[in-house]
Symmetry: D2
Subunit: 214 residues, 4 copies
């Protein structure tokens, strides 16, 4: 509830300010019902949390790629740990995202699944081992070798995929570590949304990311 | 695509005008991404096409009842023929809809399933035999006895549930027939959305409904 | 693993002996792969743990009602807490079970879902609140009023359905209590399968059931 | 129904005879309920049509790898076109199959999904474009370049995976073509099961396969 309705817009404005100050890219993935408002109220790139590989027509109750695009979103998450989908649906959704000019960011829970997803040619993969999600323990700290191994496996299958580190990232150090291990960014959730001072935390994370990149 | 984005608002405004002129209630159920815009731009009651029985927290990629309520919607469809759910999910979703002060409208494909759903105490049930959906043949015309039998079975289990006729309704005559057979309204989809003159069709349907009621 | 392969047959023979001695009915529901062997090796009524509402043809990977019947089974469980299905699938599966002359025993987690399932006219309903499953705390002990209320709701919708008590039953006292509260039997799992002396436990449960019935 | 119960054993005996005469390997994948009987009555390698990635315990209604192994099966199909599963389930099921010493044969509908599955390291992949399944038109005839391209993509990701051609194979010529295009065998269904003379058809297919191999 800290990121729904008006609070989604407030948070997106903080994200926009930090991204502009630091010269980095930060996207947000609000509720489906907030996609349009957040897109219109800010210049921040907006992602959907999911799309269904369904065309308009018999699609009641589903998330249409076209509707997500029409809302102003620039991309979509797929196969999030809280919304796993079938392998053939990942391929179809990635293709439909591309057709709708949406960036496809697919989550994967293991090195094997990450490599598998790489073969489906999404724009980005976020590695998020379920055992670390929501624990506050970053995968980069708990299992640094898992990140480097996964990056290697993904790039062996498909060198064009951009890789994010997705599980348990909650501090600026976690962000720095994730980038040092070969990923290009991180997927954040409760650590920022539930932070008492999201702007301060995001700014420090941005600084850590910039330092790790150089 | 005839009911997404700006077109969703245009259609909702037509609905609002007809409802006001005729003194009847017509709700709309647009894409999730259009719930807020349609709610804000019109006075028409807005329904979500689905909610997931999930609380905020680990809910990425799902339709939260709270987010739907925050968008301005007054109700939700559940178990639509294009989005069937488990029986325990229907019960949980109906309860969560009530907690969020949303009207729960559950779709059911047969007389048996309609009676079963009645036991879960939703506000409304829409009967929609899948064999007639999208055929342009109204269930009230093809199987009038199915409607009267279903109404009877639902009310034996739960006399408080309001009943809509959901399949194949496409003409003013279909609307009249549905009401004569004991339902209180209809669920419409492509017949109106794809009509060349939605205002004219809705007005005629409203007149037919009013006449059948008296 | 205590009830798979040869052990499934051994356990079924114990069940058969106790049922014959006590003059009561006890059925078993082994793995799909053991249905035929258990049916052939004993005279005990055998239930499948699930069937899919699918006809022969494009059915690879599914549990066909016809194959279950051909294996010698006399009935099937449906919607077990570990295998929940959609409401329309329950209706179709109940109908297909009847067509294949199989007894349909549908599990339900709440009083509302139990009443809903009753409208679909299965032969039997097993009430199993998920919060008590596998806890060793019988629903009849923890929530006796839930059983009597559920029995009443089921019979209001459909007086012909036979009712079992399904959660947390692990002692002869639990069995007696369940029958005193208005059910006709119990659904047992780990308490018997993992018992050191299944024959003794089942015999004592049978005695408790008989005493409670008189 | 042509391959259930007694007919499953009869068909498996025909398969066994042809395989022995021709010196080739043919496996069968009967109903779950027939796995044990077919394994015991013949020497033919038996595959399950599916397994669930679930350990014994809370597994009612599921296909346990251990139970499949205990039935005498030597392998399992996964992700068949009629039983698609989530990507993380494929990985878990492949791993559990290996733990239970079962051969994992994963079906895939496109070149992309085939390459993705290859990253999960199953023993075998069967390529079965859904548009050709059950049409009587072999993928090797309709889209020969799809087979060669898929073989190449799979082997780029994982050179150890053995590849079968899975869709629309119904004649000896289809079998020969599939092998000439770089696969090691075929997945057959209705063409053999519904043949008036399965022995003759299988023998001719075996001859075609042997000739194509040389």
């Amino acid at each position: 509830m800290e990121a729904t309705g008006k609070k989604a817009v407030e948070l997106a404005k903080i994200v926009e300010a930090v991204a502009r100050e630091r010269g980095i890219t930060i996207a947000v993935a609000p509720q489906f019902t907030d996609l349009k408002t957040v897109s219109e109220a800010t210049g921040v790139p907006v992602f959907s949390q999911h799309i269904d590989p369904i065309r308009p027509g018999a699609s009641t109750g589903h998330i249409l790629p076209e509707a997500v695009k029409a809302s102003g979103a620039v991309g979509t998450i797929l196969n999030h740990s809280e919304r796993r989908i079938k392998i053939s649906e990942i391929e179809e959704s990635v293709e439909m995202a591309k057709t709708s000019d949406l960036i496809a960011l697919v989550c994967a829970n293991t090195a094997g699944v990450s490599a598998a997803v790489a073969a489906l040619d999404p724009h980005m993969i976020a590695v998020e081992p379920p055992e670390l999600i929501g624990t506050g323990v970053a995968v980069s700290k708990a299992k640094p070798e898992l990140i480097t191994y996964t990056v290697k496996r993904i790039h062996t299958v498909n060198p064009h995929v951009r890789i994010l580190c997705g599980a348990g990232v909650s501090t600026p150090e976690d962000v720095a570590k994730a980038i040092q291990l070969g990923t290009e960014g991180v997927l954040l959730a409760s650590s920022v949304v539930k932070s008492k001072d999201p702007r301060k935390l995001l700014s420090e994370m941005a600084d850590a990311a910039l330092e790790a990149t150089h």
